[in-house]
Symmetry: C2
Subunit: 208 residues, 2 copies
DNA sequence: GTGTGTGAAGTGGTTCACAGCG
DNA sequence: CGCTGTGAACCACTTCACACAC
């Protein structure tokens, strides 16, 4: 079955919302309510949720606990992914300390940096290697996912060298450049400066 | 004229690419080439660029310098935006240090945090205030854009209090929650954990 | 000949509207 | 009667295909 990117994005958000509702002890929720809380149309919510089989009760709504478990199963990983984080600057450290990165779906197995003060030390409990050795370490640790928090100028080079190891299946790129990778490597990009530029553009546009 | 969000996103990327080409001294570029470098279809590039008038030369391509200036003008701001950054943790500091944030389109006028060690001090040259005073300071400094790099639990509250000042026109939210704001406030969200979850989902999905 | 500009066709995602079940 | 599930209608963005300018 094919499943669209915007749908997955919303599923993750439903999941997060349901976690909250579970914690608050709410038993039942309607597509209407969920839509209001996340700013989606109720029909959108229903379509998304019905995608994986009938899970709601007509005339009632969705059982919070059941729905939460249901989506957990959809989003669940078959195993823990091995992740490598490249670039332990402020952004890299921010990610390491992030709530959502204390997750049982993956394990950050190695850090990489160019800074000799960092190489060989542990940061937040994870050993930092030299980016020069990235091909070898990625292969050795069988790292499948790469998080790139390096300056734009370094990103393509680093990606190439890591992909060379042959184990990398996906890259989450925070560097403000468009990477090219082999087509069997999934690429997701978070471009912070583009988001800000977009916001400013639409603000300007609205004023005109 | 109405202009679609994906188009703006690409415009920002063309602009960045052209900056590079200008620096490298390339004189002319085709939609084909630009498409390859950014992983867009050539026809997409042409459609985007023709949106604002004929700018290319048939049989030749686009004059790099001219096109760069052209897009600059499209993306240009009417004036410098006043920005406030809320939450001077690792992520907030990362943004402050960011290349793209040394930009002539805006000026970060104030920082906000709850940490009494930070309040009253300057960080990267900008004074940090208590979030308790956010309504007053935002009004006083006429802050129009807010960057939220606070924990999820605090985001809605902070946003409400800031919006109360009456000057806020847009919010760039990095907190992993869905905010509700008055409809005259533009909202852009960068949800890092959602991006990672999405990537992992599609990796899993591909393997099945 | 070469590469742009663009109407027309295609694709993919969202919203509607209502049947159907609890 | 209320709220879900879902085909059909709608809408938005992308891609094609070709006329046209250089």
């Amino acid at each position: 079955m094919k499943i669209a990117e915007p749908t997955v994005e919303r599923l993750v958000q439903y999941h997060r919302l349901l976690e909250q509702l579970v914690a608050e002890g709410q038993k039942v929720v309607s597509s209407q309510e969920m839509g209001e809380m996340l700013s989606f149309k109720a029909s959108q919510v229903r379509k998304d949720l019905s995608y994986f089989g009938e899970i709601g009760k007509r005339g009632v709504g969705y059982h919070v606990d059941r729905l939460h478990k249901h989506i957990s199963r959809i989003l669940a990983s078959p195993r823990k992914w091995s992740i490598g984080l490249v670039g332990v600057g402020k952004l890299g450290e921010a990610l390491l300390g992030y709530q959502a990165f204390q997750n049982d779906k993956f394990h950050i197995r190695a850090l990489f940096d160019v800074d000799t003060d960092k190489i060989g030390t542990e940061i937040q409990g994870i050993l930092c290697y030299s980016v020069d050795d990235i091909t070898e370490i990625v292969r050795e640790k069988e790292i499948e996912v790469l998080i790139l928090t390096v300056p734009g100028g370094a990103a393509q080079h680093v990606a190439d060298r890591a992909v060379q190891a042959g184990t990398v299946k996906g890259i989450l790129n925070f560097a403000p450049v468009s990477l090219s990778v082999p087509e069997n490597v999934l690429l997701a990009a978070v471009d912070i400066s583009v988001e800000l530029e977009k916001l400013l553009f639409f603000l300007k546009h609205k004023e005109e």
